[in-house]
């Protein structure tokens, strides 16, 4: 690749999603281009510390894993002059690049990539790799649209998870026990047992607990994140669950385990160990698909329940991977109802039922695995972006 340096900008709106994606992108881009200088500018280092514990959230500039991390709230003209600007600037999730950086960047030939949020909607191809004409003569800007098709920008494939995939499958019990031991649990086999992870926005789990309570298996639910934890505890209280400890509840055949915050790669690997995952937003949604395990997606809530449009677009695309029309219909109904809430509440406001999801678990597993294969082999964002950067460079030379 011709470009020698890349600056990635991330403005944190809420939670861990945006910074998680930006860090993952920085990490994979660096691995793919070891000679390229990669810097990640973040508007708040504290959420990043949760994902990458080695981060010192009070330090303005620091380097880990070959990536330079910069607290972008400290950027003034003096610091920008000292740091300079890279050949390529990336607006992660469509964020704004700080003004001081833009002023510096326009003094040299600079390529700007607006790396947008992921979407399964068809219109994204109208924006993907399209120019955005700017008034500054030396700045060239393009939109880059992540997605699930060959025509889109793809998704970030985590190379560490890919490398550990076989071991996660072969030594599943060992890996699961490494998490279960914190709750004093050790398993010798996984017969008649289901493992599920939950990481959602605030919502009710009343119908979920009621429906999985009818399954003739022991179910281990691993709960991630504050919103899932608080919501689940509310639902457990309503169902009169037994409190074993602050982090362990029991309800009939269900063991509910409240998990600590896990580093990014460990969480990604965890999703490959379970039988199903309930995930939210963008990044954990993509990881759930890549894990190849059945999943339920809690889309980021938008005004006027617009997130349903996003869910419908995903379902239209996901339908291509199902062999069974009835299983897909059942799954669609569940996903649409699951995303019917207009706002986050810790009470049950939606009417989804989960019986069919668990009955169809193998069919959904097949569809997710097929999609995972397709994405891993055809939709690697870093590879596709590299190809695009090379193409731009060729066009500029010509």
């Amino acid at each position: 690749m011709h470009y020698k340096s890349i600056d990635i900008f991330c403005h944190i709106i809420d939670n861990f999603g945006d910074v998680g994606i930006a860090y993952r992108f920085a990490k994979e881009f660096k691995l793919a281009h070891l000679s390229c200088d990669v810097r990640l500018f973040v508007s708040d280092l504290r959420p990043l510390k949760g994902i990458l514990p080695v981060i010192d959230s009070l330090q303005t500039v620091q380097e880990h894993e070959g990536i330079v991390f910069v607290d972008s709230t400290k950027l003034d003209n003096i610091l920008v002059d000292a740091l300079g600007t890279a050949d390529v600037l990336v607006e992660a999730m469509g964020c704004e690049i700080p003004e001081a950086v833009m002023k510096k960047a326009e003094q040299r030939d600079t390529l700007i990539i607006n790396l947008e949020y992921l979407s399964a909607e068809k219109w994204i191809k109208e924006y993907h790799r399209k120019p955005s004409l700017l008034p500054q003569a030396r700045l060239k800007k393009y939109f880059y649209m992540p997605g699930f098709t060959s025509e889109s920008g793809g998704v970030i494939i985590d190379s560490q998870v890919e490398m550990s995939r076989q071991s996660l499958s072969d030594d599943r019990i060992k890996h699961l026990n490494s998490h279960l031991k914190n709750f004093g649990i050790s398993l010798t086999d996984t017969k008649d047992t289901l493992f599920g992870s939950i990481f959602t926005y605030a919502r009710g789990f009343d119908t979920f607990l009621s429906d999985i309570g009818k399954i003739d298996k022991t179910i281990y639910l691993f709960i991630f994140g504050q919103k899932s934890r608080e919501s689940m505890i509310q639902s457990l209280h309503r169902a009169q669950a037994v409190i074993m400890s602050d982090a362990h509840y029991t309800l009939k055949n269900i063991q509910v385990l409240i998990m600590p915050f896990l580093p990014q790669t460990v969480y990604d690997q965890f999703l490959c160990l379970t039988d199903f995952n309930i995930v939210r937003g963008e990044d954990s949604f993509v990881r759930a698909i890549l894990s190849g395990k059945p999943f339920i997606w809690n889309a980021y809530l938008q005004e006027n329940i617009y997130h349903r449009v996003k869910v419908e677009a995903f379902l239209e695309m996901f339908s291509n991977y199902f062999n069974d029309d009835i299983a897909f219909k059942n799954y669609s109904e569940l996903l649409l109802e699951f995303n019917q809430a207009a706002e986050e509440q810790q009470v049950q406001t939606t009417r989804e039922r989960y019986d069919n999801f668990f009955e169809d678990l193998n069919k959904i597993n097949h569809a997710t695995r097929e999609m995972s294969y397709f994405i891993r082999f055809n939709c690697d964002l870093v590879k596709k972006l590299t190809g695009f950067l090379n193409q731009i460079q060729m066009e500029m030379v010509q």
Partner: protein
């Protein structure tokens, strides 16, 4: 300054030292309540048109060019003829010059023709226009909220979404910025 999402066909913007006429604007809602727009822009000096994409909140220097009220007379061979309301001078514009405004343009309509260096380069519609519904499925009794929508083909051939209570032949008011139904006329 105008945001990209406020631009519409007929607007003129300045990017660097060039003037561009907006010929077409498409709005798409992205994730996390963020949106983006795709513009078809015509460089008024070179005459070249190109697509450019923006975040919905990207800012533009909008330029007010000279404009005159003119009446749309007729179309033929991809040329659209307008007549100055005062001088009766007739000018022709082509399909690309008119862009999205064709969706709402009907004969006898008086609109603003945008001129640059004495030459007509595009048109700008009023915010609201009144058009007849050429065809829509029969009205449904019961839903009067206006929240449930159905397709309707307008007399210009353009399709929009209208409330279930609207009927074929009815005159309705449309917001030309968004292409949305406003009210019965």
């Amino acid at each position: 300054m105008k945001e990209a999402q406020e631009l519409r066909a007929g607007n003129t913007v300045k990017i660097a030292n060039d003037l561009f006429l907006v010929q077409k604007m498409v709005y798409n809602k992205g994730a996390r309540n963020a949106s983006m727009v795709k513009l078809k822009l015509k460089n008024l000096d070179t005459g070249a048109s190109a697509e450019s994409v923006y975040k919905a909140a990207d800012k533009f220097n909008d330029i007010i060019l000279e404009r005159r009220p003119m009446q749309y007379l007729y179309a033929g061979n991809d040329q659209y003829t307008f007549m100055d309301q005062e001088t009766f001078e007739q000018i022709d514009l082509n399909k690309d010059d008119l862009g999205d405004t064709l969706n709402y343009l009907k004969e006898q309509m008086v609109i603003e023709v945008v001129r640059h260096e004495g030459k007509a380069v595009g048109v700008e519609l009023p915010v609201n226009v009144e058009l007849k519904i050429d065809y829509t499925e029969p009205a449904v009794k019961g839903d009067t909220s206006g929240k449930v929508l159905k397709n309707a083909k307008l007399e210009t051939g353009f399709e929009i979404q209208v409330p279930l209570y609207c009927t074929t032949g009815e005159l309705i008011r449309i917001d030309t910025r968004t292409g949305e139904f406003v009210a019965r006329a």
